[in-house]
Subunit: 602 residues, 2 copies
């Protein structure tokens, strides 16, 4: 079963109707581009993704990487895919012209990446990580570091990783124990062990640059003592040629449920005395730097979840249209023809829910990329600042909502296929396994719950939250003024009011009793997510309703497309948004049933 | 990581406090037994399960069965497990003494099976299917058929399967096309193809008995033309010795996401002219007979889901108690000791939700087995009839609720382990993959939604539903009269009232517009499931509260145990039951957003 990659009509809608991507052409950085350049970039991405990534999505799952003690063995298609990706310039595309790039906007790069991840999320993991690692050097590295490491990363000769997690601490970065000892030449010797390092070793590139968190001897305890280092697999001579093997060894591969063609590694630093590392920026500021990569990675995780959900939706829709089975309850004639299952009410529900989750997720992630873009290139400092604040507020949602609900979409895709959904002869079970990683890495749901309730909403005297409220109110007001969307506008406005009242109850408790105050933060994250998703859907509904109201201008295909958007918005606001009511009741009462549970009672 | 099989204290509670299993000893069929016999049976099951089933749960997943064109190749531990199961007498235990059995009650057999499924759900699949197939012959076969096939099935020389599904119809059995042509000797020649047949071929037993649905030439269309046949893999001579190979061939194996050590097969009947089959009972009544096996299988599926969830709970609880990571939000001292993650509020929530799902599921399934028992051996015809009706009503819930929520428990178990939960080095990801089958087979969620709303609730002028209402009211009344449980009793009573009012709105629509009336049946199933689960939990809470109120009689362990039951009940009734409110609002308004969605709008 060949599954269509995303949906070009929807991508078009999201970039050019839902978002004003064409408006970027007015900004100085993009004045030499055109919509044709953007579209051609996406077309190239889609073509390479179809040809060199989708071809081994199943194979890379069935024949995962292995380690023979010397080298990582991988199916050869992986390197081929990497090479085509690099040759097409995607590792450099977003850099300025003067830095060897094509000066493409973030959102076009992210839309392009969506095609690669949709085709083969595991193989696409390598370039994604590498892009993030190079961005980190570009932002915080010295000129010398940039000159030495970025060009080979742009060319695809080197790949990059983020080496944070250790066996002993998991998500609690404050407790990392990897040690850095300063050397006379200004470098450091790094010793310690890192775990769950994606792409930590592979047989694709000639070198790997590990962006590594470690504590310099004598550093303060906790997060204030973390520094960031460049630790290459092979040292790089001053002329750029390969130097000797650095003291970073692959201790072993981990064997994942899905996402298998991305290696997950345990790395040992300094088994032979110490791995050479180069400090990035200032000492003890590593976590702050790394947050840039993590925040990028969080949008990327949301986006990966979205497109995995999207592929399951595409596959199950195609199956439901082609698979005849059973009859409507009203038809009691056993000799009548079977109907395609898309005509069964519950199958339609499962497809519509998927549509709401996956198109909503992709819209949310592209919106986040547009905020990222605006935070760098919007016309005024105020606009840049506001975009930054909104993105900062919403990052936990952008990471978590797709990870939860596009995974739920994959679950529904399996259910639409029934028994066929459960077997590896069809692609949907792999999407489900691949996607299960996304609620875990780059911060579990719990961590993002703590982040949004404990930090993002209260920050700056709720300034970012107030921006969010204004934006949602504007969308709701537009919807309320139009008959077809009026009820949805009112529902969203009511929900927003409930959220603001909830904040007034919860935030005082954070100071009074932070443990109880944050106890139900994951539930709060879900409430915030449902309201955000409703907002994203209502924006799409507003556009669709306006288009449908235009007289006689629409083709049949366009009319169907906008009707679908409207119906998915209705589904989300009528079926999923109201679940916030019992959730808010629990939150407002500081329900402590799980909090009060004792270990001994289990 | 060795995971404890279920929880002996809870099993004891469920059998002897929640249910009155000891009371069975008063019935004539069990008067020669004792509680010691019951307990020894479970102890034997647990011992064999630990030694011969748990040992290859992971291995059977990593080295799934293969087909070399001649034979199915399986890891040898599978046959060893089967042999120990058979040697211990579990394939015959529930038969009467005079039929070669041990006359053990259904509920003890099911509790024993729970240990095997917990240890290795895939390997346990073979005996479970075989038990059901033999029961079918025992209930509906001729004396000759019983004499020929049941003894070797009791001994474990033959295994049994249920061969219903075909490539062309999936769940819509009305449309099967497998054909049976009567022969002069009274047998039939069967031709056709069956798909997704679990255990349809294997290398464990010397023969396999396929309980096969087919249509006799000239039979009426639809379900009224389906007959049931015994189709052995090898014909059996009159003296019981193996005859020639029957014309049933393994066309291929299907490759599942989980549950891998149970083969899933495509079988071809009659490639060489026709497979010999023997009609069971009367022609055209096959589906009614098969429903016995399906109903048994449905309880078994619920129970398998429950114990897979249970194992995930056990594994994640153990991990959470041992894994140190991070500190409470109130503790800002980075030099203080890390705490075990069970102390984090959100981890406790995830563990408590798992406890509610999995102990609730197991309680529900054992309750169903007790109804099955009562429907056969209760003292009066009225009591037997009432048990039958309640079981008939609740079978869709018993199958679906654990399949949905114990799977959700497995999802939470992964989340508790974080990155470790996603790798095959830990057991929880396999439980999740194994369990994903359960919402599909033996009727998808949608089918059980249609069944409960369209048939079970209205049947007999709602007589079974009224029995359910009385039972729930009694539990709620007991709870309402006690301070610690009073609020829960009131909540459940209110929910029950809402359900009855909902029925009054929905049932008239079934006649008026069955397509719309049944459109949201899956949602109704979830509402009914939440209320049933709340009832199951409130019964447990009543017992726990009564025990805790006894003065000074409890050991610390018992007090902790009952506190845990009470807290899990509170969790379920406060966190999960209230979600019926938005669901009921959608149902009562006959919300038609998914129903109105058009294929062309996707």
């Amino acid at each position: 079963m060949t599954v269509q990659l995303l949906n070009a009509r929807d991508m078009d809608f999201l970039l050019y109707e839902f978002l004003d991507t064409e408006g970027l052409l007015q900004r100085p950085r993009y004045c030499e581009h055109s919509r044709e350049v953007f579209d051609a970039t996406l077309e190239t991405a889609k073509t390479i993704a179809e040809k060199y990534f989708a071809n081994h999505n199943h194979k890379g799952d069935e024949q995962e990487p292995t380690f023979d003690g010397e080298r990582v063995q991988m199916i050869p298609e992986t390197k081929e895919a990497w090479d085509h990706f690099a040759d097409a310039g995607f590792l450099a595309a977003h850099y300025d012209f003067e830095d060897g790039g094509m000066q493409l906007p973030e959102i076009i790069l992210r839309a392009a990446m969506a095609y690669f991840s949709a085709a083969n999320t595991a193989t696409a993991g390598y370039p994604c990580l590498s892009l993030g690692a190079a961005n980190l050097i570009q932002s915080f590295g010295s000129d010398e570091q940039k000159a030495k490491f970025i060009p080979p990363m742009q060319e695809g000769r080197f790949a990059g990783t983020m080496a944070m997690t250790e066996p002993g601490q998991g998500s609690a970065l404050a407790d990392i124990t990897t040690k850095a000892v300063p050397q006379a030449d200004g470098s450091y010797l790094i010793t310690g062990q890192k775990m769950f390092i994606s792409g930590g070793d592979q047989s694709i590139t000639e070198n790997i640059i590990h962006m590594t968190l470690a504590k310099i001897e004598g550093a303060p305890a906790g997060v204030k003592g973390i520094s960031l280092f460049i630790v290459p697999k092979f040292l790089v001579n001053d002329d750029g040629s390969q130097g000797e093997r650095n003291d970073v060894a692959l201790a072993g591969l981990l064997h994942k449920m899905g996402f298998r063609n991305t290696t997950s590694t345990v790395l040992s630093f300094g088994e032979k005395g110490g791995a050479v590392g180069y400090l990035v920026g200032e000492p003890h500021k590593g976590l702050a730097y790394m947050f840039q990569m993590m925040n990028e990675a969080r949008i990327f995780v949301g986006s990966t979840a979205a497109v995995l959900g999207y592929q399951g939706f595409n596959a199950s829709l195609e199956y439901a249209r082609e698979r005849p089975q059973g009859r409507l309850p009203s038809n009691k004639d056993p000799e009548s023809k079977q109907i395609p299952i898309v005509q069964h009410a519950d199958v339609r529900r499962m497809l519509l829910a998927q549509k709401a989750y996956v198109e909503g997720s992709l819209a949310l992630c592209l919106y986040a990329s547009s905020l990222f873009e605006d935070s760098h290139t919007a016309d005024t400092p105020e606009a840049r600042q506001q975009a930054f604040m909104l993105l900062d507020l919403l990052t936990p949602i952008v990471k978590s909502w797709p990870s939860k609900y596009a995974l739920k979409a994959n679950d529904l895709a399996i259910q639409v296929l029934g028994g066929s959904g459960y077997i590896r002869e069809y692609p949907v079970e792999q999407y489900y396994r691949d996607n299960r990683l996304n609620p875990i890495h780059e911060g579990t749901e719990a961590i993002h719950g703590l982040d949004i309730l404990g930090r993002k909403v209260p920050m700056g005297n709720m300034a970012a939250y107030e921006l969010f409220v204004k934006a949602v109110e504007a969308t709701a007001a537009e919807a309320a003024a139009r008959e077809t969307t009026s009820e949805m506008g009112q529902s969203l406005l009511a929900a927003l009011g409930k959220l603001s009242r909830l904040n007034a109850v919860l935030l005082p408790m954070l100071a009074k009793d932070p443990d109880l105050g944050l106890a139900n933060a994951t539930l709060y994250l879900d409430v915030f997510g449902r309201i955000t998703a409703s907002w994203i859907w209502l924006q799409q509904a507003n556009i669709a309703a306006a288009k449908l109201a235009e007289e006689g201008a629409l083709s049949v295909d366009d009319a169907n497309f906008y009707q679908g958007k409207l119906q998915a918005a209705r589904y989300y606001l009528e079926w999923e948004l109201p679940e916030i009511d019992p959730q808010i009741a629990l939150l407002e009462s500081h329900n402590s049933v799980p909090f009060d549970m004792q270990d001994a009672w289990f």
